[in-house]
Symmetry: C2
Subunit: 212 residues, 2 copies
DNA sequence: CTAACGTTTGTCCATCCGGTCAAAAATTTG
DNA sequence: CAAATTTTTGACCGGATGGACAAACGTTAG
């Protein structure tokens, strides 16, 4: 499917990496159109023509970035399987997704930017790879429901809600920090979020009629 | 705080409205920098200089749009009060937010774009008006928890999770529809989402030890 | 009708931006 | 070292874009 990776010198490897790192920073905060090659070049500490020596077009950088992103992005969902206890399994999925939001917020925002604008570059992937991956996991979740291990509900919207709540802490980070303020908005906010989400997804808000 | 609204002729009112409508469409899908005045002008059915007669700068359109947005955007949260039953109150808040995602997806995306890019234009508002509104509602929610009406949990993250899950259906609509496919991705998806979210927030995923 | 005022448009400009190119500088190879 | 190859840069180009402006057009009031 893909053309064979062209041979590259050591310098090319390193510089391309440097550029991608810089581009991730820039693209994730300004979007594709909002970012300029000059910005990226400056962030990577090189001149524009020099950057264009390593990537011939602005789009080429973006595409490379998106392609890489998707592999790591879907890894947590791929790992979801039905070997362990369903609730434990879901809990770790939520935790892994939240860790990704904490550790790779730029990737999350890059992805969010892409989707927000109608996913012009990755639509086929959403309808193909992503959809079938989701269907695969939906089957697992349905199994858990049939076995009475988790409540019967809509498995697809369950997945959406996990995506939404976890990615929120990357994509809307500014808002989260603004609302939490300096006291609560520090590094501890991800642990608070993890505790909350675990409780929400496991028990919901309704108080137990009989104490646990 | 604001300058008095300048007097405007009937034509000015109408044309400005037309421009804002067109600009909402364009800005919400391409972001601020990704949108051109020409695009907006064409969508509004007028020439660029004509548009600039009504709004002197591109930013002026965007600011006006954002200002309006915020009023309607926060309305559902403002309405949250402790007159009724807490769970009912939360349920209608979720429902109202989901309806907004369904009926005003462009506003949601405009807001998301702004936050994603670091909220350069509305930071003060987030730290001021939004934060204090949230604090006010946090107090109410804490009251409910003390009264044992809802489970004890983090009220701020509870609010975040409602924002995240509902806005997801506007901001990530393309992805949602791609994953659901043509069968499930039709107009019914919002009702499915409403049902799911209600169940999630009320009962969570853990199956009841004793049947209801 | 006409003066005054509001609206619309064609034209133009300066800047930005993606991308090219040839030549210089650095590095590798023999 | 010297030739070959790779990397870097300054200068440049063409098109897009935000915005200015004056002239034309339309409308309304006297």
């Amino acid at each position: 499917m893909n053309a064979p990776a062209p041979r590259r010198t050591r310098i090319q490897q390193e510089k391309r990496e440097l550029i991608l790192e810089a581009a991730l920073e820039v693209f994730s905060t300004h979007g594709f159109r909002g970012s300029t090659i000059d910005q990226i070049a400056e962030a990577a500490g090189m001149s524009k023509p020099n950057l264009l020596y390593y990537f011939r077009r602005k789009e080429e950088i973006h595409e490379t970035l998106i392609q890489r992103l998707l592999d790591t992005w879907l890894a947590p969902l791929r790992e979801l399987d039905d070997v362990g206890d369903p609730l434990t399994e879901l809990r770790s999925y939520i935790r892994r997704k939240l860790e990704m939001a904490r550790d790779y917020p730029r990737e999350s925002r890059l992805f969010a930017n892409e989707i927000l604008q109608g996913a012009p570059r990755i639509m086929p992937l959403l309808e193909g790879e992503l959809k079938s991956l989701v269907e695969e996991k939906v089957a697992i979740i349905k199994g858990w429901m049939r076995a009475g291990k988790i409540v019967r509900t809509d498995p697809r919207h369950l997945i959406f809600s996990i995506w939404a709540t976890t990615q929120h802490y990357a994509d809307f980070d500014v808002q989260v920090r603004a609302v939490l303020g300096p006291d609560l908005g520090g590094d501890g906010r991800f642990e608070d979020a993890a505790r909350f989400l675990e409780q929400l997804f496991l028990d919901g808000l309704k108080p137990k009629a009989s104490a646990d």
